[in-house]
């Protein structure tokens, strides 16, 4: 599925860390890796040098892992240039890091990360780097919604990441508590919740099984983003992989946006996947 992976690097450390995840996926999938740096207008010399050094380090790391790698340096507007490369090279997935200033904006609107996610014709994995001690994540938390599109690609992405890092996957689905007017919240035990596993999640699990990785999972009632954060912190998960938000601006304002909340509060590194592969 991912024959060609592109990772965007810049002068910031988190882009280099994000690229390491791309390296891992490329190794697991046997893909060709493109390390690209788009120098924006007015970039300082030191920033340019830092980005070049990061590319060099990543290139050497990729070589060590026997990954076919190509470096690309261009100048211009990052989203436009990356889009051109994606189209030209037939890239399947792009890795990019989110920046702290991105998440300060509501719905990270207008940011490079958001634009990449919206405008690229391929899948996009946005990486939020917050913890640098977990070099190879051992436990990956995968929060799932009740309705999952591109289940096959999502499961493949998670499975390959887990394979590459030899990690265990923990599937987590937060459900809205069941309430009745006169009875208030109805308590269900995990066994009772399991009987209510949504069809899409069962389908996702079937897809994940094909990757032959170790996994377990559970359903828990509660507030989505807070439950995910607590789950990740209490069980010391090393990485969270979740789908990109599909909530509209209005819906996000009214109901909140778990992805946005998690980008701000995540206790470990976070990958937000926007899948584009059909089937």
């Amino acid at each position: 599925m991912y024959k060609k992976i592109l990772t965007a690097v810049n002068e910031h450390l988190n882009s280099e860390i994000a690229a390491r995840y791309a390296l891992n996926l490329a190794k697991a999938c046997g893909s060709k890796l493109y390390i690209c740096f788009i120098a924006e207008k007015g970039i300082t010399k030191s920033s340019f040098e830092k980005a070049e050094e990061a590319m060099k380090r990543l290139f050497l790391d990729a070589e060590k892992l026997n990954i076919e790698t190509e470096s690309i340096t261009e100048t211009g507007e990052p989203v436009e240039e990356i889009n051109k490369i994606v189209k030209k090279e037939g890239i399947n997935i792009v890795f990019a890091s989110t920046r702290r200033e991105d998440i300060k904006r509501r719905f990270y609107a207008g940011t490079v990360a958001r634009n990449l996610s919206l405008k690229l014709p391929c899948s996009v994995a946005l990486v939020r780097v917050v913890h640098m001690g977990r070099v190879h994540p051992k436990d990956i938390l995968v929060p799932l919604k009740a309705r999952i599109d591109h289940a096959k690609e999502r499961a493949y992405f998670t499975g390959m990441m887990a394979q590459g890092f030899h990690s265990k996957v923990f599937i987590f689905h937060t459900v809205k508590p069941i309430t009745k007017f006169f009875h208030g919240e109805i308590h269900l035990t995990p066994a009772q919740w399991e009987e209510r596993v949504p069809k899409d999640i069962s389908n996702y699990i079937e897809q994940l099984k094909k990757c032959e990785i170790e996994f377990e999972g559970r359903l828990s009632p509660g507030h989505t983003s807070r439950s995910i954060t607590i789950e990740a912190a209490s069980r010391r998960h090393d990485l969270i992989i979740m789908g990109a938000s599909e909530r509209s601006m209005l819906s996000s304002v009214l109901k909140g946006n778990p992805v946005e909340d998690l980008l701000k509060e995540t206790p470990c590194d976070l990958i937000i996947l926007k899948p584009r592969h059909e089937g």
Partner: protein, 882 residues
């Protein structure tokens, strides 16, 4: 692979830094990317919003509509008293909101206490120079310098160490200093010896480290995040009150609407019907319920404080009573934490070997005997005391020490005795035995002290088995068993824990608290499961559990290392067993146990004292912190503080909690009974075209006035016999169940309603009123008649408060005068009623008029009837439902 597994070079490469630290430019970039190194509170609903929410729930909205319509009515038809009504309803909304808010309010100060454990400034290397920077500006990749007395600002990987030891107490709960080193460590990050964690403090030595996680992403931040973000949810009582309120509000609204339309149908005016509908709603709503519940909980917490259980959130008083599982620590809670040596074991049982064992116990020990007092932890104190009593005082220079820590489970000192360099080690057998190459046996030739000679025999499997058997046998006697070994060192040998000689075992006893077995028996009878979570070995844990009656047969014992490997499903299955003990556990595991129990629908109380107990304390329905041994963070997080650290106090508090719940049900019976005589006059008014027998203000006089103190006095009733012999109440059991409602609405209430209407018509008839004649609201006869109706309700409520003191037992059998507060409440009730009936202010506010003294006597038989009927009902229940 984690940062602790990497070599120094790999660490620097991975974090893209160097030993010279970061440049200022890069540091600024990283600061803007990773943010400040600070502990932050998870965003929560602000207090102001939480307060506003008390005004927007279903019942409040219903009352707002009522108040709004009343004020509109006043505007359209001034002078009919609707302004007073509108304001009174708004007053009710505010009273309910304030008391609900008081119940829910809880000061969150745990994060503030956590922040105090982080430093303000830190020494870092930037651009190759040592510099002091604010701790908040430390970022991943920074190289920091640690020296004695420093607090560690962020999670950091050590790259250089010189005899560095840290106190990891905030993370592990262990106060013993832990030696750190900079070599790669292959185990888990959290257990790694080359990581200095944020919030810990350097005890001795120095080191250089590279920061890899800051702020809320550190282990310390993780505790803060969980402590702040985890929510235990509404207490069982709060949930019940929400449910009850919804039922009442729904019933009130439906009745109000139905009778409004009946009124319309039979031709009454819109405003008459409207007043009637509002009256029905006000009469149905037990306005005094929330204030009474809140004050009753406050009284319960006062009583608990006298029993050394300090309650921090009011609703916890009742939650305690519903607890189904207690997860408790062992040392200091179930036991006295006063260690005593009870057994010595050596291979040869020779005095000379025992003396060397004593010498090891004496020298490998950090307790000090100063001015006739032992100063140190209980285990080491017991060892030193015993050694001193047997071999007297020793003088031996200590060259070095490898302190005890919970992961290594042993401690070693190197001492010089008579010019010889000797290593002495004590610890858990599983940690020490693999390091021993020999065992000391019968004396044969002079070598060490006392002119006694020893022979060192190589340890083989058989000897190991013998040692292990002796170890297990001592543990089966509830002893905490330590093993001892020594090594003879060359002058430059720096490996004291190599090729050691096994000496023997010492068994120590931490006697159970004398009151604990009885407390456990009470829990068993009360259907409460107790799960012991201890750092001790499984055999010691099981043995002590047997002695105190915690387990009877062969319990399931899960050790920490198995616990980590278990899936949730496996653990869930184990936790469903009747008798289960967790051994060799650390506080970080507690939250998982609590979470799974809660998911299974249990109501969980958990004890804790350390900083890392805080998340579990927060997650549990009742977090119980130790008042003596507890840290400030644990105390701030907990719902209850045990002032004496004693398990028996928890059980006493549970009994008090159950009593509070039972008493809440008693006064709900009492309060709800008066709803019927408040509703029936309205029904009579609309159905029989009579003057309204009871005004809305008079209803409020009962609900928020005369009923209040007697209801509160019911909250002070002593526990019913056998309360702790019943299982915890079923979570499905409703506060307002059919039994309670039928007693109040179908049995007690109708008697009161009959009394009220009798009083009303008695006065009207005495004044010459004819059926169907309508009287104006300021007619003296009418005002006297409503006053008589009100009086009848209050007089019968006096009998009712006595009747509601028990559900089954005769009031005479529980002691008619055993609750003096009841009589104080009745005295208040009568005084207030006299004010309402005879004082001009009372008359003005409640539209009453003085009535003749004989009216009181006319109504008293109804009170006697109610009391007698209740006693008969109770007798019938006792007789037929034995």
């Amino acid at each position: 692979m984690k940062i602790n597994n990497l070599s120094k070079e790999e660490v620097l490469k991975n974090l893209v830094t160097s030993e010279n630290g970061l440049s200022e430019e890069e540091a600024q970039k990283r600061l803007s990317e990773f943010g400040h190194n600070e502990i932050k509170e998870t965003k929560k609903t602000p207090l102001s919003i939480r307060f506003v929410k008390q005004f927007t729930h279903f019942l409040a909205i219903l009352l707002w509509i009522g108040a709004g319509l009343a004020l509109l009515s006043e505007y359209l038809h001034p002078g009919e008293g609707m302004l007073t009504l509108g304001l009174a309803i708004i007053g009710v909304i505010f009273i309910n909101a304030i008391f609900t808010f008081i119940q829910e309010y809880r000061a969150e100060r745990a994060i503030g206490k956590l922040k105090l454990l982080l430093p303000f400034y830190v020494k870092a290397i930037r651009e190759g120079k040592e510099t002091e920077i604010p701790a908040g500006e430390v970022i991943p990749g920074d190289v920091i310098i640690l020296s004695e007395g420093d607090k560690v600002p962020a999670d950091s990987r050590l790259i250089e160490t010189t005899y560095l030891t840290v106190n990891n107490a905030p993370l592990t709960g262990e106060s013993e200093p832990v030696p750190l080193q900079h070599e790669p460590y292959l185990g888990e990050l959290i257990e790694s010896k080359n990581i200095a964690f944020a919030g810990t403090a350097v005890v001795s030595g120095s080191g250089k480290a590279v920061v890899f996680a800051t702020g809320m992403r550190t282990e310390f931040g993780r505790i803060a995040r969980l402590t702040s973000a985890v929510e235990a949810g509404l207490s069982p009582l709060q949930k019940e009150i929400v449910k009850a309120t919804r039922v009442i509000a729904f019933l009130a609204a439906v009745m109000g609407i139905i009778f409004f339309f009946i009124g319309q149908f039979i031709g009454r005016s819109f405003w008459e019907n409207f007043i009637f509908a509002v009256g029905i709603i006000v009469a149905n709503v037990p306005e005094g319920l929330l204030p009474t519940v809140t004050l009753s909980l406050a009284m319960g917490s006062q009583r608990m404080a006298k029993k050394k259980a300090l309650i921090k959130t009011l609703t916890s008083v009742e939650t305690l009573g519903s607890v189904t599982v207690i997860c408790t620590d062992k040392t200091g809670t179930l036991t006295q934490n006063k260690m005593e040596v009870k057994q010595i074991w050596t291979f040869d049982n020779q005095q000379s070997t025992i003396d060397l064992l004593m010498k090891t116990a004496y020298l490998c020990n950090n307790t000090k005997f100063i001015e006739g007092q032992y100063k140190g932890d209980p285990t080491e104190t017991a060892l030193l005391k015993y050694a001193r009593e047997n071999i007297g005082d020793l003088i031996a220079d200590r060259i070095s020490e490898i302190p005890f820590d919970s992961e290594r489970k042993r401690m070693t000192t190197v001492n010089i005795i008579d010019g010889k360099r000797l290593g002495f080690t004590k610890g858990a057998l599983e940690s020490l035995l693999p390091l021993c190459k020999y065992v000391l046996m019968h004396p044969v030739r002079n070598e060490l002290s006392n002119g006694v000679n020893y022979r060192k025999i190589p340890i083989d499997e058989k000897l190991k088995e013998e040692i292990t058997n002796a170890y297990h046998s001592a543990m089966d006697k509830e002893l905490r068993v330590l093993s001892f070994a020594y090594s003879e060192l060359e002058m430059h040998n720096s490996e004291p824990e190599k090729d050691m000689v096994f000496l023997g075992l010492i068994g120590l006893e931490d006697p159970p608290r004398p009151e604990v077995p009885n407390a456990i028996k009470k829990c068993r009878e009360a259907g409460i499961r107790i799960i012991m979570i201890t750092g001790d070995g499984s055999r010691t844990a099981a043995a002590i559990a047997r002695e105190i009656g915690l387990v009877k047969e062969n319990p399931i014992v899960i050790e920490g290392h198995d616990f980590i490997k278990m899936s949730d499903r496996e653990l869930r299955k184990k936790l469903s067993e009747k008798e289960i003990i967790f051994a060799r556990m650390t506080p970080k595991h507690k939250m998982r146990v609590v979470s799974i129990l809660k998911e299974e629908g249990e109501r969980v109380a958990v004890t804790g004292d350390g900083v890392n107990d805080a998340p579990a304390l927060k997650k549990a329905d009742i977090g119980i912190a130790m008042g003596i041994a507890g840290t400030d963070v644990a105390k701030e997080t907990a719902d209850m503080i045990l002032l004496d650290d004693n398990f028996a106090t928890i059980v006493n508090a549970i009994e008090e909690g159950r009593t509070v719940y039972e008493n809440i049900r008693k006064f709900i019976s009492y309060i709800f009974s008066s709803n019927i005589p408040e509703i029936v006059p309205y029904l009579a008014y609309v159905l029989f075209k009579i003057p309204l027998p009871l005004t809305i203000m008079q209803i409020l006089a009962v609900d928020l006035g005369t009923d209040m103190l007697p209801a509160l006095a019911l909250g002070a009733e002593k526990p019913t016999a056998g309360l702790m012999k019943q299982p915890p109440r079923d979570p499905k059991e409703r506060l307002l169940n059919f039994k309670l409602l039928s007693r109040a609405y179908l049995f007690l209430g109708p008697i009161e309603a009959a009394a009220g209407l009798f009083g009303f018509f008695y006065v009207l008839n005495s004044g010459g009123w004819k059926w169907g004649e309508m009287l104006s609201s300021n007619n003296i006869l009418y005002m006297q008649a409503t006053t008589a109706c009100l009086n009848a309700i209050i007089i019968t409520q006096i009998a009712n408060v006595l009747a509601c003191r028990s559900f089954r037992e005769s009031v005479f059998s529980i002691g008619f005068f055993s609750n003096k507060l009841i009589f104080a409440g009745i005295a208040f009730e009568i005084a207030l009623q006299l004010f309402i009936v005879y004082h001009p202010w009372g008359n003005a506010i409640f539209a009453t008029s003085p009535i003749a003294a004989q009216m009181w006597f006319v109504l008293i038989p109804f009170a006697i009837l109610l009391f007698a009927a209740e006693e008969t009902r109770k007798f019938a229940i006792r007789y037929f439902m034995k």
